[in-house]
Point group: C2
Chain length 543, copies 2
């Protein structure tokens, strides 16, 4: 490897040591050499076997109309067998949407697959997300270019973006790029929207008789892009471990100080997977799960009362402290708040609710709207709102004599610090396999599939590898009178093993203090190869 300036941020590798001293910390450097084992099936000759025809997650007739070329295509599984013929490929890769730890390893996996199976291939990295495809803004990814990003967090190798390829003009631009670069394939690394977009692109290329095939990869720390064949999205494992370290520290602080209730809001947008996983890792006194709040049609008053009830019971036991986890999207799960958050004017029936809200939150509701008139949920400081509402409720109870404790709230928001951490060993390995699989699927001529790596509770050698028809994950939503295909977000299942495990424990956690402090992500030593609880429980393992 040359001693050239390799990194986008100006780092120069020291040939003698193989280290990037100027721009990388010791831990970053040490991660470069962390080994990335492959599932056995990817290490020997393999062939791709098709399963039965697929359908859709809902409204198959509409999905069939929207994807005439792709609908019904089978999922693919890699099994030992004759390797397909070696051919040079031209492949593009794009990162779409918010960061998730491990994205760089997907790219490393694609690259290494091409190197070992299709010598002479070219990998183009589109810069800045889907806009890079439309503008044909790319970099040719070489071994030297990719190596410094191995097992590193962030998306800074080629950066990401939130543009979508939607209009006929935009599809046309994408076609022009595919033709100009003579692309055999494109890997779209993204969340539910980006993978829907990837499938539309696959359909479009196929319908135009372009050779460019499209494979998606499941990315989001939120953990809400998953199904039977795609057991988890990458980044979730790392983000939860980083948040849980911080929560564990705050718990020790709470117990040591004995006088604060820490209200911790956690990133995770629509679904509450991150909050649930962090609860399973740390055992907080109170955990709000948005999906449960919605299912029980709870009001803001119900939620406030639930928190206040636990605080009162704890006060009787002599505990005037605790830790409360709150999912970022909570307010979106409360039916009455949904109305407050919606477009247009407030229905008169909700004036009273609105008046109950702390002033600062009223401001946020009135001011923090996006260009479409929607409230930007991520900007609402739900943790501060709840502190004030609980405080008010406890004052009432104090006057009534039913509460004799002391209440002091401390608010936290853990978000950005988890999105770009150094990927855990699990995410590092999982992403590398996802990328490798994407390469194999493209070489086998597949399109419109999402890279699928399964059997994740087993040792890496036994992981299964294949691709799932993106159309099989889809349903339609009616928008502006038209059906739009969507991959349904996987919400927390109230009948699922992770939630049930949590329910079986939460009363004990509420009143007894069963705090667990997982400590920093461990790359070496105990637990360094442990997988998150959600995934293990969903896979039927005992945790």
């Amino acid at each position: 490897m040359a001693a050239a300036a390799l990194l986008s941020n100006g780092g120069v590798k020291t040939p003698a040591t193989g280290r990037y001293a100027a721009v990388y910390s010791e831990v970053q450097n040490s991660r470069l050499d962390h080994p990335l084992p492959l599932p056995s099936v990817l290490k020997s000759p393999f062939k791709v076997v098709d399963g039965p025809p697929s359908s859709a997650a809902g409204n198959p007739d509409e999905i069939a109309k929207l994807f005439p070329s792709l609908f019904g295509q089978p999922s693919a599984t890699l099994v030992p067998g004759d390797s397909s013929s070696v051919q040079e490929l031209k492949i593009g890769v794009v990162l779409s949407g918010g960061q998730a730890p491990g994205g760089h390893n997907v790219i490393s996996g694609i690259y290494d697959y091409l190197q070992s199976h299709c010598k002479g291939s070219t990998l183009y990295g589109f810069r800045g997300g889907p806009a890079g495809i439309m503008k044909c803004k790319y970099v040719v990814l070489t071994s030297d270019y990719i190596y410094p990003y191995r097992n590193q967090g962030g998306f800074d190798m080629i950066c990401s973006g939130r543009d979508k390829i939607e209009t006929p003009e935009q599809f046309k631009q994408a076609e022009e790029t595919a033709i100009k670069l003579d692309l055999d394939g494109l890997v779209v690394i993204g969340g539910d929207d980006s993978n829907t977009n990837a499938c539309l692109l696959a359909e479009n290329f196929r319908s135009k008789n372009l050779k460019t095939r499209v494979i998606g990869c499941p990315k989001t720390i939120d953990g809400d892009l998953k199904c039977k064949e795609v057991p988890t999205s990458f980044g979730f494992d790392t983000a939860c471990k980083i948040y849980s370290e911080m929560i564990g520290n705050v718990m020790i602080d709470a117990r040591s100080t004995g006088k604060y209730y820490h209200f911790v809001r956690l990133m995770g947008r629509a679904a509450s997977h991150i909050t649930l996983e962090c609860a399973l890792q740390t055992h907080p006194n109170i955990t709000l799960i948005g999906e449960e709040v919605a299912a029980k049609k709870e009001t803001l008053k119900n939620v406030t009362d639930y928190i206040a009830d636990v605080i009162c019971k704890r006060a009787e036991l002599g505990y005037n402290y605790g830790v409360i986890l709150i999912p970022e999207g909570l307010v979106d799960f409360i039916p009455e708040m949904k109305l407050v958050l919606g477009k247009g004017n407030l229905p008169p029936s909700l004036f009273i609710l609105f008046d109950l809200l702390p002033l600062a939150i009223q401001d946020q509701l009135l001011l923090e709207r996006d260009p479409h008139g929607n409230v930007q949920v991520a900007k609402i400081e739900t943790e501060k709102m709840l502190i004030q509402m609980v405080e008010t409720e406890l004052e009432v109870r104090k006057e009534g004599g039913s509460y004799k404790g002391q209440f002091k709230g401390q608010s936290h928001f853990f978000g950005y610090e988890g999105r770009c951490g150094l990927p855990s060993n699990f995410d590092s390995t999982y992403c590398y396999a996802l990328g490798y699989a994407a390469g194999a699927l493209l070489q086998s001529g597949k399109t419109g599939l999402i890279s699928s790596v399964g059997n994740l509770a087993a040792p890496v050698a036994e992981w299964t590898v294949g691709g799932t028809a993106l159309t099989s994950l889809m349903d339609v939503e009616r928008r502006h009178g038209k059906f739009k295909p969507v991959i349904k977000k996987a919400m927390v299942e109230l009948e699922g093993a992770p939630f049930k495990k949590f329910v079986s424990m939460r009363e004990e956690w509420a009143l007894k203090n069963r705090y667990l402090n997982p400590g920093p992500i461990q790359f070496v030593g105990p637990e360094s190869n442990a997988v998150n609880h959600t995934l293990l429980l969903e896979l039927g393992a005992q945790v």
Copy 2:
């Protein structure tokens, strides 16, 4: 060790494994067995050698009057020699003030010293801080009781408190406890105020002819309790590593997304040591150091302009993102803000400044006052204030044509999550030595000293051990017409090596992106035994 319920939170040790599965994570468990090496001088027979008579940090005449029994006493150094005679001791220990990682190890060190040098001794842990001394609320610390807290964060073994022993009645209560428990000694683990209090207690016991001796230990994550003999306070190393991990992650996020300026406020109260250390570990684009702002007599407008200047220059280079570190105490360093923050009514000259402040901050300034009428600086969201002020300034520049970039601010406060983390290897070992030294000083009949472990840039074996006269760290302040002894807070020295190193780098960091992501605290592997930059630089090492 018995299989009894050992932990305050109800954990039971599994005899077969020696683990605390129900209440401890794997990492917490693994830390229990992390070895704690001792400086060589503590491993062989040693004697205590006195240095020359000491003076005071300022106003020695007044300090001499305040401490007639203790003033002028020499510092003590442990050197190889005949061990002092074995005697049973009764020692008390108390944790005072806010948490800092490593407090439990100080207690472990005292205990292990007594076990190995004064068999049959008793160690009392006063519960809930100095109030535990006054109320004689204690627990007898046994091997079984202490072991589960070895190398663990927090102060939950005996908890802490912020009470002071100040009035004649309170001193009387402390005397009663000392007599009742027949205490030979007391170790006060605390910050500057608590160590001042420890010295007053030592003086009081001595003047009353009680045998109870008092030794202090330097504790505070803020890093502002230090001097030549006490090179650092414990907890600073761990807290900075935890904050730097988070900052490093946010940096990768900033670079990947390319559209946010992250304003990160860091705990650390009066002094900016934590912010400076985190800057040295991570290389942010902008770092505000309170002591520099004060020395240059900068206004809030100056600070805003400085940030806006860097943002404008970066925009010209195509960077519309960055990371800015802000010390918690910043507003206290800005002369005009000091007036706004002070008691009483706002001078008319400052109405204009006040009007410039964002509304939410005006509210905080008006409402968040403590019972003494002072603004609670920790509650002012300086990071949000600066975002709004910078935004306004950049809008003006945009209209004037001197700024063409895009500005979006994201605010963060990193505080509680760092105070109670699992102590770094350095803090674990340093604290154990501090406790061990405190035991040795008490056995040697010393009082009014602060446990001092030095030569910290060298291997642990070569660390020096002794005690420094607390009166030598003191000056007086006039309060309510009376002289009060105080240990002066050690502020960031603008002529010191850490600040100079920072100054030599900050222009490069501002415009080029030299972000370093230190990654999670590493207990094993690369950098796991590295010491923080501030300490190494202050000790003259090259970093």
